[in-house]
Assembly symmetry: C2
Homo-oligomer: 256 residues x 2
């Protein structure tokens, strides 16, 4: 027991919940290195970004309790899971590392803004905790991600040993047969033709989100979108501070 | 009519919906300068950040249609409103400016991450549109913000005339009796003691979000939180690109 007390703690969340295989791959790898507490949303939270639940209370249902491993489901967002874990569920233990995913589907380019998977890591970064989000294809909830374990393990080992710069979290996207690992920036871009209009049986219009993702700079090999397509495991350091520091003087000149 | 065709278009949204007075102050000021289309959520969307609705279709209900002004409510998030407006509701007209707010309550410091008000401006920035979010106190849905109109008008005039750097949006927080305007960075900080645990009549625990906001650097006068408290209208330029460009080499050395 004494030895166990000294193991580091890894907190794990995601935006798909425990019914998707991705989080179980992360839990499996993480348990080789640390005690693990997994706190994941009860309902699918894709596209929930950093949102928080204000108007309803949260609950936490314990669904696993083993030597070195506990798991809770929370009927809230990924950020709710991280906040509730740190404040209430970890018994005061401070995580050495926070992991998110494996998301079923890439979170790259400007998807990062909308990503519940990344919401976990941004929240952890606010708490000055090192955090890494992992995403991969395909979407199938039963996907076997075991071939990606060595890549996940490498990142966990390095970050557990050396930490991350304060206020910076990592966004990792993994293609199916990686040729190596590359640190790249997020590709900027946007969706076009984003809604499909339909008419309901009462004659009223409604809109389904759909669309094409169009890159601002499609040929930029130093972006995550392009590098993943070329077979690289991409690592994008993301910062939690929204300030456009490089533009302070320009905006001051414009407005004051 | 020919003259009207040449007026610029301002798109306005918020996270509180049309039942709060803040958006009507923005609409009133904006209409002095441009045609206005306001597209706001049907339900309260505080804390929804940049989240998107994937699993239900959206609708858009037209609630105003006057010379130079249309308004729609959308049962979705602030980002849904912007996306649906650009793709479907503006009839192909490109906004010269996107405004968000006035939010009832400040959106500063790391609130920016969770803010539906800021979600509007981040989404606009992805579309290469200049965008400004306005927030003020108090929370009262009927607050009379008319004393703030000159500050709003100044920002609208400058940004309409000169635009903003690509990928940068502005976060403006306005105290009740401003002494001037200041361009400052977002204060970094986090919530502590964030949940209050209660027990329901069936003996099960539940948790309400609450907490104290604790600044990482409480004495830093060049942050939005401190400057608003000192009576300044604060303007924080925020960038939509999440990449921590300053840390690319460090992360490359760590992982590859």
């Amino acid at each position: 027991m004494e030895n166990q007390e000294k193991r580091p703690l890894i907190l794990i969340s995601n935006d798909d919940g425990f019914s998707f295989s991705g989080i179980h791959t992360l839990i499996k790898v993480a348990r080789r290195h640390a005690d693990v507490v997994a706190v994941a949303p009860l309902h699918q939270q894709s596209g929930k970004g950093c949102s928080i639940t204000f108007f309803e209370p949260l609950r936490a249902i314990k669904v696993a309790d083993e030597e070195g491993y506990q798991a809770f489901t929370v009927p809230g967002t990924p950020v709710d899971c991280v906040k509730l874990a740190i404040d209430q569920l970890l018994g005061g233990r401070r995580p050495a590392l926070v992991l998110s995913g494996i998301n079923h589907g890439y979170n790259y380019g400007t998807c990062t803004l909308y990503s519940g998977t990344m919401g976990v890591t941004f929240e952890a970064a606010l708490h000055h905790l090192p955090a890494v989000a992992f995403s991969a294809k395909p979407f199938d909830p039963k996907t076997d991600f075991s071939a990606l374990e060595p890549w996940i393990e490498k990142v966990i080992e390095k970050v557990l040993a050396q930490g991350l710069p304060d206020g910076v979290c990592l966004n990792v996207n993994m293609p199916q047969e990686p040729r190596g690992m590359k640190v790249v920036r997020a590709a900027m871009g946007k969706w076009e033709k984003e809604y499909e209009r339909r008419t309901d049986p009462r004659g009223m219009d409604y809109y389904w989100v759909t669309g094409n993702y169009v890159l601002d700079a499609p040929d930029d090999a130093e972006t995550d979108v392009r590098a993943v397509a070329e077979g690289w495991v991409t690592v994008t350091p993301c910062r939690v501070d929204p300030t456009a520091h490089a533009h302070m003087a320009e905006i001051t000149a414009l407005l004051t």
